[in-house]
């Protein structure tokens, strides 16, 4: 990177894995068929996501999403789409809860890699409160989709 750009203060936020996923965008596209769909929007910045999930019994079979937003929100959706399939619905919920707790902790919670998987890369977001919503957007959409399935 050239010139005066401030690499250090941002390194915790923009992990390599995040920058990579922001480009890779795993799971992008309309999932067909799907069991539930949620559309979420962050009114502050206009980021949005439409996320679909398909279950196979108790297990998440696949996740697909379309959306636009910052690198954090896009990378987060991509990591979700790669990591969550294969988890049970309950396991997915634990991961969402762990991520939420971590991100809201402002750095006071130690990330648990076993529980978080690749989402551990977002640990640095905890020090940037304004970005927590970006990192959580896809996960909240998944959570609400699972809620909807539970309610049926």
């Amino acid at each position: 990177m050239s010139g005066q750009a401030p690499r250090d203060p941002l390194a915790g936020l923009y992990q390599e894995l995040i920058l990579e996923h922001a480009k890779r965008r795993s799971g992008e596209g309309v999932l067909e068929p799907a069991d539930a769909e949620r559309f979420l929007r962050n009114p502050t910045c206009g980021d949005e996501i439409r996320l679909r999930v398909r279950l196979d019994g108790e297990t998440v079979d696949a996740v697909g999403w379309e959306g636009q937003g910052c690198s954090i929100s896009q990378a987060s959706a991509s990591v979700l789409a790669e990591d969550v399939p294969g988890l049970t619905a309950a396991g997915a919920r634990s991961r969402i809860e762990a991520l939420r707790e971590l991100l809201r902790s402002r750095g006071s919670v130690e990330p648990d890699e076993a529980l978080l998987g690749d989402a551990v890369a977002f640990a640095g977001v905890a020090r940037f409160p304004m970005r927590v919503k970006c990192a959580m957007l896809a996960w909240v959409a998944l959570e609400e989709a699972l809620d909807e399935l539970d309610a049926r």
């Binding site: 401030p6 923009y14 910052c70």
Partner: protein, 430 residues
């Protein structure tokens, strides 16, 4: 823009002196020196404003226009002198100035009052808005100058029309004149756009609007703080601006209503201090401006705003305008020259206010803002409360740098420098 006279703009030395009045500019909120380029959202406050409020609140604070005791008399004096001071700043009479919570509230007051007048049958034809009539705005308006009119149109059955913008977010006087028709009853526009920096030809629009008996409401949020504005000379019927964008404290919006409109409009809010006689079933209202000032007003903050106006005039609004216009041009020209950066608003070399918004190809504005913030630069990212404009520009968010009297060329250059590194940081567009 270059100027020859030392009086005409602000020298570097002068700005250094001014900056010393603003304690926050010495802060390092992120561990790096602050480069504050977000005055368009809210401005910072000089010591003089804080001190004026402190004096009022520790020596003369009381309920105004109510008590007969000495403290109340002192507070009432300060309050009405502040009104005179602020009125003079925009060329208005004190009775044409009333207070609101912010500019949004002031604009809502006008719209709510017009709705109320029309529900009551609008005996005054100047206020009448009905089905088939048109309310005209631009596609670039701040939500504060759009939603109240949407709602007024919905309620009265009028049609909301808008002056469209081009691919840069710009509209012209011809567009405006073409949009004003015999059916136009009200034109609401921003004097200066908070996203594009476009300066509206208000006088010509007001003339055209008045020729068809339409009212003209001016969103002066981005003009009054940054350039000399004479509201009566512009010929508008109503105008709104916010204390917190002009070195003053938060919590004060200023509503300007011509004597004529102020006398015709019913109040939006009702309660104490704005009535003559109240029975359990009837109420009579005081004339403007009190009619629009229900309940206890933010007196300390209004005194602070008067001090802010004193400060601005001591520096000189013409000099501030020149300084900022130069910085705006520097921002626009600099941004337009960066590869992969798209400048919104008037092209470099065209008239614009002291702000510029940009789109960085391939990088979301939130990420741009984060890189800037890491360098200590407080710029604003998002839709800037102008979603329709952003939709037209084809993006959800832009990055805006906005200047004020304390902004230096060096700060603008620092912004441009960091901006030029953003795309490579995210590995796009090499």
């Amino acid at each position: 823009m270059t100027t020859t006279s030392a009086e005409a703009t602000l020298s570097e030395e002068r700005i250094e002196l001014l900056r010393a009045d603003f304690p926050i500019l010495a802060e390092q909120p992120g561990g790096v020196p602050l480069v504050y380029l977000d005055s368009g959202a809210t401005s910072q406050q000089p010591r003089q404003v804080l001190e004026a409020e402190w004096v009022f609140r520790t020596q003369r604070n009381a309920a105004v226009h109510r008590g007969a005791h000495t403290l109340a008399a002192l507070a009432t004096d300060d309050y009405e002198l502040a009104r005179e001071r602020i009125a003079r700043f925009v060329g208005a009479k004190p009775t044409e100035i009333s207070w609101a919570m912010n500019a949004t509230d002031a604009l809502n007051t006008v719209a709510l009052s017009l709705a109320e007048a029309n529900r009551a049958g609008a005996t005054d034809p100047a206020l009448r808005i009905r089905e088939g009539d048109e309310i005209l705005v631009t596609e670039a308006e701040h939500h504060a100058n759009l939603l109240p009119w949407q709602r007024l149109a919905d309620e009265t059955g009028a049609t909301l029309r808008w002056i469209e913008v081009d691919d840069d977010g710009v509209w012209t006087l011809e567009d405006a004149l073409a949009a004003i028709t015999e059916r136009t009853r009200l034109v609401a526009i921003a004097h200066v756009s908070n996203v594009t920096g476009l300066i509206a030809p208000v006088e010509a629009i007001a003339r055209a609007a008045h020729a068809v008996d339409a009212l003209v409401v001016l969103d002066a949020c981005q003009s009054v703080p940054h350039r000399p504005v004479d509201l009566p000379a512009l010929g508008v019927d109503a105008a709104a601006f916010s204390s917190h964008k002009m070195l003053g404290p938060g919590g004060v919006g200023v509503l300007y209503l011509t004597a004529q409109l102020g006398a015709a409009l019913p109040p939006a809010r009702v309660g104490g201090s704005m009535i003559t006689t109240v029975t359990m079933t009837e109420r009579d209202y005081l004339p403007a401006p009190q009619r629009f000032e229900a309940g206890t007003q933010p007196v300390g903050a209004i005194v602070g705003l008067a001090a802010a106006v004193d400060y601005l005039e001591a520096v000189g609004m013409r000099a501030i305008e020149r300084h900022e216009v130069a910085l705006g041009e520097r921002l626009a020209a600099g941004a337009a020259a960066i590869d992969g950066v798209r400048l919104v608003g008037p092209r470099p070399g065209s008239e614009r206010a002291g702000l510029a918004s940009v789109i960085v190809d391939g990088v979301h504005a939130h990420d741009v803002g984060q890189v800037l913030d890491a360098a200590g630069i407080a710029a604003r990212v998002g839709h800037h409360c102008a979603q329709p404009l952003h939709r037209r520009l084809g993006v959800a968010a832009t990055t805006r740098a906005s200047t004020y009297l304390t902004t230096t060329e060096a700060e603008v250059d620092r912004f441009l420098d960091v901006l030029s590194t953003v795309r490579s940081y995210f590995g796009v567009g090499r």
